[in-house]
């Protein structure tokens, strides 16, 4: 009898079914690899198992008995521990305090005083099991990311977890730390603990998992023993659909006129000797894993972060002191990865948001009054151009809009300036398919109008469907370049994942493969 059995799990959000009956089982002392694109349903499945989300249908059996967690605490009590991508540790507290935060051992059993001695002894035992040599009183804030992960595991062991779920555990780990983690996983396996391992680093999955299950669009599309699942098969199962329908026809081809020329841009520890040229009418994609330095490069190009050495030129003019202001004056625009944090004023109206980057253009010369009618007309025109849909396209608050329409507001803000160089960092993250298509169309219109678009995306499909050229970044360097026609997700992935043999390489994780 399997330790954990999930049968036909279903889940809908706002009437849209996202899990269409997911089933898998897990035995004692086995590691199950769960792979799939973002949005394929991995996280939803695991959140149901971990008690974070209630399920709409299907059943879970743990050791043969029905298992119906009502919350994370319930799931943990049942023996399922969930180690999240973002660790849930209190950095200001010590290791031992973190381990026992949910139930401190007390003096006399019930007095409101912590039994420090007992806590320390238990903490020592647990830390030994995960190979942490720091004293239990060490503040968690002073530990490395890898050690924090191990503290999380120790926490799971403290409640005698039978199943441990790892969600992208190596994202922020160095290679050495990841190897250490794998050693611990091996040790836990031998103790009979079952584990579910979610990761985009397929090489790791192949290495440590016994079985692999592939999810796509909320359903299991394949699975089997790891030995019978080579990386290529996993990728083809994960992608599994033709690209044409998802992307609009490109209506222009790149010209030979460069609009953005980057030469030798370096920042120690972030990016190294970046050379790239973006032409008018071109969509240039940047692929790479999380932590490859793509967003960092974009921030440097837009003058948000500093750099040492190298030049950035727009239309042949070198930008002397790059800052968002000077870059904007040279005709650049930047759609950031973090829409809520850096793109929008959530509590302001659509008009205020769209106008924010162009206030100077609509100000009277001396007293700097805003020309409100002219601004209002232009904002309305741009709103129509991006096909903004809102109850009130002028006065609705940004936070009342859907993700897709919010992103259109950010795009409109920049379109109002008629930029020549448009840097887009994950423009379609968290947006539904329909709005994605519209954003692709806006991108096409932009380049057809003579602008150049530099597009960072973790969705390889999107890059291959839209770009004229793709650069692959890896460890802060441009590793490879492919033109349309030679696009091949396997080769791109390979370039993105190739490991430097020397140096402490950051944990290479494909945020999104295929």
């Amino acid at each position: 009898m399997a330790l954990l059995e999930c049968e036909n799990l279903r889940k809908s959000f706002f009437g849209v079914e996202v899990l269409h009956g997911v089933s898998f089982s897990l035995d004692r002392g086995r590691v199950l690899g769960l792979v799939g694109e973002n949005g394929s349903g991995k996280s939803t499945t695991m959140n149901i198992l971990g008690g974070v989300l209630p399920r709409d249908g299907g059943r879970i059996r743990l050791e043969g008995a029905e298992f119906d967690p009502r919350g994370p605490k319930d799931a943990l009590a049942g023996g399922i521990a969930f180690i999240h991508q973002e660790l849930n540790l209190f950095e200001n507290l010590s290791i031992e305090e973190n381990l026992f935060i949910t139930g401190f051992p007390r003096l006399g059993g019930a007095l409101p005083f912590i039994n420090r001695g007992r806590m320390r002894r238990r903490a020592r035992e647990l830390l030994e099991q995960v190979d942490i040599r720091h004293p239990p009183g060490t503040p968690v804030g002073s530990l490395s990311q890898g050690e924090r992960q191990l503290v999380e595991i120790a926490k799971a062991l403290s409640v005698d977890a039978k199943v441990i779920i790892f969600d992208e555990p190596t994202t922020s780990l160095t290679r050495r730390e990841a190897d250490r983690l794998f050693g611990i996983i091996e040790r836990l396996r031998r103790r009979g603990i079952a584990m579910i391992y979610i990761s985009h680093v397929l090489a790791d999955v192949t290495r440590i998992c016994d079985d692999i299950t592939v999810l796509r669009d909320g359903a299991v599309v394949g699975g089997g023993p790891a030995a019978q699942m080579p990386t290529e098969r996993m990728i083809s199962l994960m992608v599994g659909r033709t690209l044409d329908q998802l992307f609009p026809e490109r209506t222009c081809t790149p010209t030979a006129t460069p609009v953005l020329e980057v030469r030798g841009v370096s920042q120690p520890g972030v990016v190294h000797e970046i050379d790239l040229t973006l032409h008018a009418g071109e969509v240039l994609g940047i692929a790479g894993l999380m932590g490859a330095g793509r967003s960092e490069l974009a921030r440097i190009l837009f003058g948000l972060d500093s750099f040492h050495g190298g030049t950035i030129a727009v239309d042949g003019t070198v930008i002397e002191k790059p800052s968002p202001r000077t870059c904007m004056e040279h005709g650049m625009a930047f759609l950031t990865e973090d829409r809520r944090g850096e793109g929008l004023m959530m509590h302001a109206t659509i008009t205020d948001n769209i106008a924010l980057a162009s206030l100077d253009e609509y100000a009277s010369p001396w007293a700097r009054f805003i020309e409100r009618t002219r601004l209002g007309d232009e904002v309305g025109r741009i709103g129509q151009k991006v096909r903004l849909r809102a109850a009130d396209p002028v006065a609705a608050l940004a936070r009342s809009l859907s993700g897709g329409n919010q992103q259109k507001v950010v795009l409109a803000k920049w379109l109002l300036r008629n930029p020549k160089v448009f840097i887009l960092d994950e423009p379609t993250r968290g947006i539904d398919v329909g709005a994605k298509f519209e954003i692709y169309k806006i991108i096409d219109t932009l380049v057809a109008g003579g602008a150049g678009v530099l597009m960072i995306s973790s969705e390889m499909e999107e890059l291959m469907g839209l770009c004229d050229r793709i650069l692959v970044m890896n460890h802060g360097e441009i590793q490879a370049e492919y033109s349309r026609g030679e696009f091949d997700s396997g080769r791109i992935l390979e370039a993105a994942m190739k490991r430097k043999t020397s140096a402490a390489a950051p944990g290479a994780i494909a945020e999104k493969v295929a």
Binding site: F302, L304, P324, R325, M328, F334, T336, G341, E342, G343, L344, M345, M346, H347, A348, D352, A355, L356, A357, L359, D360, A363, A367, R368, F369, I370, R372, K413
Partner: protein, 342 residues
């Protein structure tokens, strides 16, 4: 469903709409002020006399000027606790320039304008220092302005000791006193000044690029920076404006008392911030208007005056004022929660 239940339903939804309209009205605090005025009138009928109303107005004026400056700072999600020390410092510096008892420019025809210029300069300088520490050194506004408040409150007393053996610098020139008590076209000069400051502040906030940028910095500083807003300059400008407004208030207060005194304004810090917040300006930034602040100040001064006229002791006045400010904060929280549900 029966006819009566339909009726109650309709009535309750109409009621709800009414509650919502009142709750979200820009003039909520004005309505509250009127309501309060009518409510206390039976107990203190003198409230409606011209004399008292004029007093209320003259009490409002200097407070309103500082509060308008504070509104700018709260809009960028800052706070300026140093305003009372600016009032004190500007008062004694201005007095030291123009006093007949050995002032720097005693007797000179330039004494009054020079003194007023010096007062505004004091306000701008302290505001600039606050802005520098906050935007360039990245210090929290609370700590910066708390410490400048302490420093300049002390410094003002120290400065006074160079000029007089008493606690304040008296014998201000006749020209200055008349300026504060005179009128143009039947409207007191101080009212003209406050009107000018208020209208200017309203125009800056509502109509200019700077205004939009102030709100943007309060709403989302990072998004503003990405969109090319010179965030540091904008925030520094808010503190400069607050300093200048406090200095103008100091001119009004000093003119009214006819002496420069270092303890001027010592007790009104919470009135200032309380009035702005009662008006509806958010302590979290991004939200605020000059008219709101006018209503907030009106409300607070009304309460103050009425409680004093009821003959309540100072500590009960304090307690009731505290309760009213708390109530305003609660209403604001309810409002925000309601808004989130729509």
């Amino acid at each position: 469903m029966t006819a009566t239940s339909l009726e109650t339903e309709a009535r309750s939804s109409g009621m709800r709409r009414f509650v919502r309209r009142v709750l979200f009205s820009e003039y909520l605090v004005l309505w509250l002020s009127v309501l309060y005025f009518l409510a206390v009138l039976p107990f203190v009928p003198q409230m409606a006399s011209v004399e008292v109303l004029r007093n209320i107005l003259s009490d409002m004026l200097p407070l309103l000027v500082v509060a308008i400056g504070q509104t700018f700072v709260l809009i960028v999600a800052g706070i300026d606790l140093s305003v009372t020390s600016i009032i004190a410092m500007a008062s004694v510096v201005g007095a030291s320039v123009m006093t007949g008892d050995g002032g720097y420019l005693a007797g000179s025809p330039l004494a009054v304008p020079a003194a007023m210029l010096a007062m505004v300069t004091v306000g701008l300088a302290i505001g600039a220092f606050n802005g520098f520490c906050i935007t360039r050194l990245g210090m929290p506004p609370f700590i910066v302005t708390l410490t400048t408040m302490m420093f300049f409150s002390g410094a003002a007393i120290w400065f006074t000791t160079f000029h007089t053996t008493t606690s304040s610098i008296a014998n201000l020139p006749h020209g200055f006193v008349v300026l504060g008590q005179g009128n143009i076209g039947g409207v007191p000069n101080s009212l003209w000044v406050v009107l000018a400051v208020g209208i200017l502040a309203h125009i800056v906030l509502a109509r200019t690029v700077l205004g939009r940028r102030l709100y943007a910095c309060g709403q989302n500083r990072r998004a503003a920076a990405v969109s090319g807003v010179p965030v540091r300059k904008v925030i520094a400008a808010a503190f400069l404006i607050s300093g200048a407004c406090a200095a103008v208030a100091s001119i009004l207060y000093t003119g009214r008392l006819q002496t420069g005194t270092p303890i001027l304004g010592q007790t009104i810090l919470l009135d200032i911030i309380g009035a702005v917040v009662i008006g509806g300006t958010s302590l979290f930034g991004g939200k605020g208007k000059v008219v709101w602040t006018v209503f907030g100040v009106l409300f607070l001064v009304l309460i103050d005056t009425s409680l004093k006229m009821l003959g309540l002791s100072l500590f009960s006045v304090f307690a009731i004022k505290g309760a009213v400010i708390l109530l305003a904060a609660v209403i604001d929280a309810v409002r925000t929660r309601f808004a989130a549900r729509i």
